[in-house]
Amino acid sequence: MMTFALFLGCTIPARLNQYESSSRAILEKLGVGLVDIREFNCCGYPLRNIDFKVFILSSARNLALVEKKNLNVMTLCKCCYGSLKKADFLMKENASLKKEVNATLEKEGLKYEGRTEIKHLLSVLHKEIGIEAIKGKMAATFKRLKIATHYGCHALRPSQVVGFDNAVAPSLFDQLVEATGAESIDWPMKLECCGAPLWGINDKLSMDLTLKKLTDGKKSGADYVCAACPYCHIQFDKVQKMILSQRNVNHPLPSILYTQLLGLSLGIDRKALGLEMNEIPITGIEELLAKEKELAEQSESTEKTESNKE
């Protein structure tokens, strides 16, 4: 069995429990083992603006903790992913930086050597498990569902560091979305930022960018925007709700976490998916799936009667 150290970061346990529970549920179903390391700390992302060393040390400590357990690490957050990747990259490139970091880590008996592979949930699903294997476990698939797939900046760029997918024309996430039977639509602003990094720093600008992106998704025909990062999702969910009330917009584009979307197709218990925990309701998607099932059963039975007639 594949096993990863699960790096939850700060935001998910505090503000997005449904992402954790749904991720654990789908990974269990797909046979991925998870190890929790209590000693993990913040990846350092929020402090990159303020102090480079704090960021590097924070990431390095987490990587050293994973190394100690001889595991690879999987993140659910794209910002955690980007930070860990960046720190890993810099320390591999710069021996004196690595030495300096290790001098600090040594106080706790930790050492970073660079043996850990850093993966995001989506790359694990795509590369380690594989689209076909996921399709093989589907309980039901969507047919008339249009999803605006949102990649998330810190997973895609800088491509030299993260190596997540082709940064200009990525397809990994689209394939994963389409595995559920949904259509991953083309939309001009697909690769743009969600706006979350500026939320709390420059709310007006952050709202402008988020609204622009969501309006574009809506205009391109999407039913839902789909993210696999807590910052992106909260921006599209809770912050979108705030934008709607502040700017008198009344056509939300609800956000669904990829793990919720996939979980529905895999037939995972709705409680684990936490569908009701999203701020902008997404429970309509369940009805959609129920209808699909009904239709599928009907056509199956008509097929049967037809073949019986023959």
């Binding site: 970061g9 700060c10 935001t11 346990p13 505090a14 503000r15 209590r38 700390n41 913040c42 350092g44 992302y45 929020p46 402090l47 990159r48 603006n49 303020i50 102090d51 480079f52 060393k53 704090v54 040390l57 924070s58 400590r61 910002c79 810099l90 490139e93 710069n94 930086l97 600090t104 706790e108 900046c153 810190h154 895609l156 760029r157 800088p158 491509s159 940064a167 743009e192 930022c193 706006g195 979350a196 990094p197 500026l198 939320w199 709390g200 720093i201 420059n202 709310d203 600008l205 952050s206 402008d208 960018l209 622009k212 910052y231 909260i234 809770k238 912050v239 705030m242």
Partner: protein, 590 residues
Amino acid sequence: MFFKVSLYISLVIFILALIYKVSTWFRYKIGIGAEEIPTSTRFFSAIKGILSTLFSVKILTLLKVFVLDVLLQFRILREDFLRWIMHIFIYGGFMLLLLMHALDKYITVAIWKDYYSTLNPFMFLRDLFGALVIIGVLIAIYRRFILKVPRLFSNAMDIYAILIVAVIMLSGIFLEASKMVAYSDYKRMVDEYSGLSDPQELKSLEAYWVKEFGTVSPNLKGPFDEKILAKGKELHQSSCESCHAKPQWAFTGYGVAKIISPIGLSIDRAHLPSVLWYIHVLACFVGLAYLPFSKMFHIFSSSISLLANGVIGKEKLSPANRATLQAMELDACTHCGTCSLRCSVIMAFEEITNMNIFPSEKIASIQALASGKKLSPLELRHIQEGVYLCSNCYRCTVVCPVGINLQDLWFNVRETLLRKGYPEFLVLSPLSFYRGLMKEETVLRDYEKPLIQAREAIAATCDLMKKKDKVLPLTPTNRNLQSGLNLSAQAKTFSVCFGCQTCTTVCPVVGNYENPQEALGLLPHQIMHAAGLGLRDLAFGSNMLWDCLTCYQCQEQCPQGVHVTDVLYELKNLAVKQVREKTLQPVERK
């Protein structure tokens, strides 16, 4: 007489101090909203809250919390087994000693009519409970000073707490031991209880006690004749045994008695038993009188915190009760360090030497702040930085063994401090994400102000930005800027920029404005150029720097391989560092 007088004095001090401490729960003002609520409102609103909880189904939750968390302390067990053993031993042993031994006249006698401190099981139990406390104290010393649990800081209060318990317990054990060896104590018991007068009989009994029970006699020394001992045993059985179990049952005292028996006579002559009695009793009374001011106050406050937070859960408190709860929680903190051990941002301390980064240390500072103590601007800035340097992950709240809602406390204190007007540069980082999310739930007065203040404080150091016609010298104005951009090798790449403006063209922030220069100052390619020319002021003073999304579009697209986003990151680091050092009293840095 001495006993009664000192007991009443310490009891009066204790009660007055208790009233004073509890009154601070209603008087101390922490955080937003607390300033406007008068003490009386807080008091009555607390009473109302308590009564409505007691007369509702929540009483069941209270009972559950009382048994599991207050009595059995499951929250400590969940965290660390050794710590749980330590705490259960100290607290359990001490409580049982208090009830059975210290308050024996009131409690033990009332339950067991034939109670005698010298009879079993009481004699044995007293030593057993004492031994538990001693083991617990030893574990506490081991954890703090030998095992050195990470980020467990020992302050004067922690050491006092260990010390006072240790003095009470050790004086008790030594008192018991010295009485066992002291001849005068033996003599007193014989005179009072035995009713023997025949010198031969007295001698036999004494011989038996010297041989069997460690009494050190000035008259008799072994070895003794078998017959005498047999006679002594007989007398012991008839006159002593019914009220005095074998001293061996008091195993800690007996062990010590064996060790000190060579100097047994001098101990008796120096009246050590009564000296030790005074020490033991005084230590107990000092402990009692000082309890409300010491860490031991957590016996009350932590229990209340556990019960209160147990029923409050996630529901929203009225502002009055929230203020009271948070003032009370400051007393409930036992400085156990669990929050600091699990804190997400502790690595920051490696670079920014500010003890207030550690949650366990923030509490003491907040206590000073809440008590209205005059703090210097530097101290205030340190606390402000400490409470802002938090990723809001709630881990401290989840792990706190006494159930304090620490996250809410930080949030609250953060907002009060920001209003004092000292610029906080951390607001310009994604640490502010949570603040943005909370702005509707908690009505944040002056929400924008700290954000503007921080930017203004930085811009104020950029003289060049203030000049209308920016006449620039031809030579680089600030060579330090260029050499300062060296945190990661990548940022040096700004020098190869040839000004093609691709970065600016793809920047979603630039694209958001009709007149980007007006809103943002220098645009990304111009900032790269400014860095190349060493124009510190233009780079630092541009809004672009703080409005960067870090989406890496610019860096990805740059045909020259300039790490545009990384350069922006480093400029931000540099700006914060320089401005903090320049405009404010220096914050210590490694």
